[in-house]
Symmetry: C2
Amino acid sequence: MTTYSAPLRDISFVLHELLDIGQFGHTAPFEAATPTVVDAILKGAAKLCEQVLFPINRSGDEEGCHFENGVVRTPSGFQDAYRTFTDGGWTSLACDPAFGGQGLPEVLNFALAEMACSSNLAIYTYPALSHAAYTLISAHGSDEIKRAFLPRLVDGRWSSTMCLTEPQCGTDLGLIGTKAQPEPDGSYKLSGTKIFISGGDHDLTENIVHLVLARLPEAPPGTKGLSLFLVPKFMLNPDGSLGPRNGVSCGSIEKKMGIKASVTCVMNFDDATGYLIGKKRGGLRCMLTMMNIARLTVGVQGLGLAETAYQSARAYARERLQGRAITGAQYPDRPADPIIVHPDVRRMLLTMKAYNEGARALAYWVALRVDLSRHHPDPEARQEAEDLVQLMTPVVKSFFTDYGFEVTNLGLQIFGGHGYIREHGMEQLVRDARIGQLYEGTNGIQ
Amino acid sequence: MTTYSAPLRDISFVLHELLDIGQFGHTAPFEAATPTVVDAILKGAAKLCEQVLFPINRSGDEEGCHFENGVVRTPSGFQDAYRTFTDGGWTSLACDPAFGGQGLPEVLNFALAEMACSSNLAIYTYPALSHAAYTLISAHGSDEIKRAFLPRLVDGRWSSTMCLTEPQCGTDLGLIGTKAQPEPDGSYKLSGTKIFISGGDHDLTENIVHLVLARLPEAPPGTKGLSLFLVPKFMLNPDGSLGPRNGVSCGSIEKKMGIKASVTCVMNFDDATGYLIGKKRGGLRCMLTMMNIARLTVGVQGLGLAETAYQSARAYARERLQGRAITGAQYPDRPADPIIVHPDVRRMLLTMKAYNEGARALAYWVALRVDLSRHHPDPEARQEAEDLVQLMTPVVKSFFTDYGFEVTNLGLQIFGGHGYIREHGMEQLVRDARIGQLYEGTNGIQ
């Protein structure tokens, strides 16, 4: 069976001893992030991940999502787990206090992301997308949009999606055909079909905020003609409460290789009301704000899954008795030695461990630069941090997901034939890891 | 979608031009294998694989095997397809005419194996195991056993299994605990539990012949204490017809990552009647005869799956329009160029193609040596061929399955996000390929 215990000592080592985040106490989000606070948060996140998210990871994979009468239902236990996640304030960790956030550093959110992806990647895709949308709207939304949508994305009562892909376009976003028609009231009517929309419909949140790339009338062809629109599932009443359904609906859901509890939808926009985000024909630039944070998170997914693969394989290698050590029986009183004595098993375990520890250090180093790029008092330091984030984002996304797939496969291999049996959970890690090399841009075009 | 057209020109090139099998006309199985006969057989095999096995590959994966009231049922269409396979004489290709075989070379059987694994690995595991059992019984069975069992394994009306693994032992066969008790009539009563038994029970054949490693009373510990027994599902009447059920039954079936239509059983032996094969305490040596041919076949599974991945990815890369060639639009009249113009896609396709062509040449070269090791008139030439087969068997098994997993993953990658969707079939190739690195000995202990 898979096993997961959050590697708090390793995480704490990277944050405090390697990165010494205490040195950034002069930068806003780190002011409150004293060692005591950080460690309390890490412990809380670990408890949530180990006790709430991890136990429904296998069952979520076996059950998958349901689609009936146009409505998506997540697997058993996901609603409760998501509520525990939001009730604990875990969606608001690195968000602006002006919108209900805790104003803590993004690097702490990455530690949470790692643990959540180790425990249950599928459920974490929902809040992860919301946080990426929060980042986009914070950067490019009007004050009105921010006031209307950010508080609910921060507290997790609403979630979000990225609507880019269409049947005829994935990598080549210039082929997007979804249309947006201006309305007299300043809003737009969107029509078109988007596919591969993670979290396009589900039962975890009251509302879903779609961020949609579409083309205004007479927009030039290619990516330069794309504008970005916010399209809520439910319209908002003037008081901010939920109004009638908007013209966006889920047409079907995909049967996938993995992350089966993370729903992937075909979304139909039929004269759906949307609100422009950023400038007309500046849609892709805005969307990149969301994609960049999402790409870093996808990289961390590779790390998270690899950590669980490592811990599970290590535990199995200590228990499973097969053969004798080449230097002679280590446990002569048992029928055989645990397989961890064998050099090839140790090679695999140490490869996994080395990758994971290196990846964690690098991921958090980059996440720290995300914080500094936003909050460092010195503009030059902000720019330098931003440049480093830009440089490292594709590296984290592609390298971490490639190695994540490799490491989860090593974990499966250590289980031998048992790794191929679903109930042991190792093959799910492999299947779940495989998506990371594909979404948020295939690794070949990072 | 996946697509498969048997690469007859490539196969024919390896057999006739590269290996020049015509030069071995003086060696029994090649006498009848004139170019005309060989090409007719290849064409027939291609038709069977493309038209009968391939169309039920996806559905077999989705449906999987059923286990109800102790009985295994294969997915819809598998019974008919298997009957077509046996009616066409495809189980008897490389078998001894004395037992109803066609006496053709093993290397032709490998060509069939490649095409069958390309089309539907799961269904091919059943006859592949029977052929490996045929090889074992031919080499080590008594004349009585051969007469009783070989004709039905040759014509495919019965199938076979290899019963080695137990809950406490996989790699370390010395831990086998299944017991065999001698009976006054010269038979044995076997008791114990075997796991991971491919084809342990199913509805494709009238009888199943289990080849079981077990321990006689007072046998020494370790692998030297193992003897090999043949345990039929149904006992045979003196006239060879099927008698009562023997004391062997399927306790449960595994839910696996892939090859879902190839059933994997827990088999319980309760005083099951068995017949000794080979010498007492010489069981492992006999079983290695079966394992060695099975290991080569598993290697060919990697090649087969990789070929389908290549053909499917190539077809998709020619159709899928995304982006423009770096040298300028190749198809200015279309909205975008087919992705095969992109260097990274070509790199992946050519990597796949290079692996496949090299693997095919090597696999058939080794298979030819299997024929020569058995039939070459010169004993020294037989020994040399045998030595080469021994040397290359672990290479073919482990390298081909490692590369098969890599190539099927490259195929999935070329499909982008669509590769992750089950209906396109690419992810099934990956899941099916993953078992090859595990069974018949994990690649780490080849």
